[in-house]
Symmetry: C2
Subunit: 274 residues, 2 copies
């Protein structure tokens, strides 16, 4: 868990005339956010496919699509055919990395989350090989049909370095041990359904939250654009321009069914403070 | 355009007891299929994001998400910040590759098309830089907001080698010149809407096609699973087991609106032959 404030784009080399975000007018408690390791675990748990980078025979980088299963510590399990270049590449050079991306919410894929897991691919043996095979087939059921093909082999990606990008201006790194120790967010990578529901049916409550809890008492509209186990993020319209708000839940959400109670409590707290 | 028959999985190392596909009972004309270069151009034209493989400072392969625009010859245009590892990697080692994948039709991403474009990234200059910038912004409109940021730079991926995988057992390679010379299929990467419509509303016509034109006179059901400018592909149910059918259009489809006429002609031809 990281308690850094909402990251900004301050580190881009931006000309002076680019508009900036309207700041909050009051000091507000923004609470914790998912750490890079939690973001990564959440993305990996939410998918079964990614793109692998391996090194081709001539030394050039080779990108290729793979499906994956996941071990308990978040290590991806690959099951690849020697007919595919990536499998031959791994046999020669086991250093590799895997990108897993969230399904983009709109047309702009760069606004969505993705993670690179970099490390070393190893061939699992004994019980680990059996578990890895089970996990791969659980994630990719059609693999049952070719699990016995002798040109396929299992690999476990031992993650050593994690680079997460959450969208524009949101990015952070994590170590392999941090990644292994983190847990996936039960809310999922982007909570798309909850966001849609809040914006469609609870616009008034979101506006009250923006005014009473997010430091924008002059807000005229608010829209939820992200949600996670620790809270929700708002786009806020004010006479001073466009603002951002972060609203922490009273308690982290422990399972998907806890999301409703956490947002209801937030709305109640906003009304009481308004 | 390649006129090879439907590729099979014969080159996997398959145990003897794996079931095989029911062959056609009559010799049938299967016509041309999209070449690997056409498949690649179609996938690239149908998207604006992919995963790039670059080489990290320590020599290990680095996978990362990028958006892209496209030049007329299909060369992807990248616009990346030096704050991102992939940009610094390209400056050190311009050999790179990009995966572009179709949106998976179902849960099994390995059944969907994807392509790896491998080559060298170059910094465009003069008019080419202007055009590349325009193409990137056309594909990624939000980039207008950071087009002036000085930490971003344009790259054009000069494609030297193409590896296309169309799903299970469908794969082929193409050269850079083949890729540049091919044109995207106006039907798009997977013709999802047309497939849905044919299966929902024209199951009888598909069955007649399977019986009369695809060499399976004993077919009891047929389902379209792929469509392209040259024809459509069927999954066929027969008392002998599961079969595959390929039905070539009388003429390649020249624009998206031509698809309806081509399938109507095919249905008419099937009825006449039944």
């Amino acid at each position: 868990v990281s308690d850094s404030p909402t990251p900004t784009m301050f580190d881009h080399d931006v000309p002076d005339d680019v508009a900036s975000v309207a700041p909050p007018l009051e000091t507000v408690e923004t609470g914790p956010r998912r750490s890079a390791a939690e973001e990564a675990r959440t993305l990996v748990a939410g998918g079964n496919a990614g793109t692998l980078a391996t090194q081709s025979k001539d030394g050039s980088p080779w990108a290729s699509l793979v499906a994956y299963g996941t071990l308990d510590d978040g290590s991806p399990v690959l099951f690849v055919s020697r007919l595919a270049e990536h499998a031959r590449n791994l046999e020669r050079e086991p250093r590799t990395s895997l990108v897993v991306a969230a399904s983009p919410a709109g047309d702009d894929v760069l606004a969505s989350g993705r993670v690179t897991l970099a490390g070393v691919a190893v061939r699992p043996e004994g019980d680990l090989a059996r578990i890895a095979q089970e996990r791969y087939i659980a994630a990719v059921p059609t693999a049952k049909a070719y699990a016995s093909f002798r040109d396929f082999s299992l690999w476990v990606l031992r993650v050593e370095r994690v680079r997460w990008v959450g969208g524009y201006g949101r990015m952070a790194s994590a170590s392999g041990p941090d990644y292994a120790a983190a847990s996936p967010d039960p809310v999922g990578p982007n909570g798309a359904y909850a966001i849609q529901h809040l914006n469609a049916d609870h616009a008034d409550a979101l506006l009250t939250m923006a005014q009473a809890l997010a430091g924008h008492p002059d807000a005229t509209a608010a829209q939820c654009h992200a949600i996670d186990r620790y809270g929700l993020d708002l786009f806020i319209t004010t006479p001073r321009g466009f603002g951002l708000g972060r609203l922490p839940f009273a308690e982290p959400v422990g399972d998907p069914n806890g999301l409703r109670g956490a947002t209801v409590e937030l709305a109640r707290r906003a009304r009481a403070a308004a």
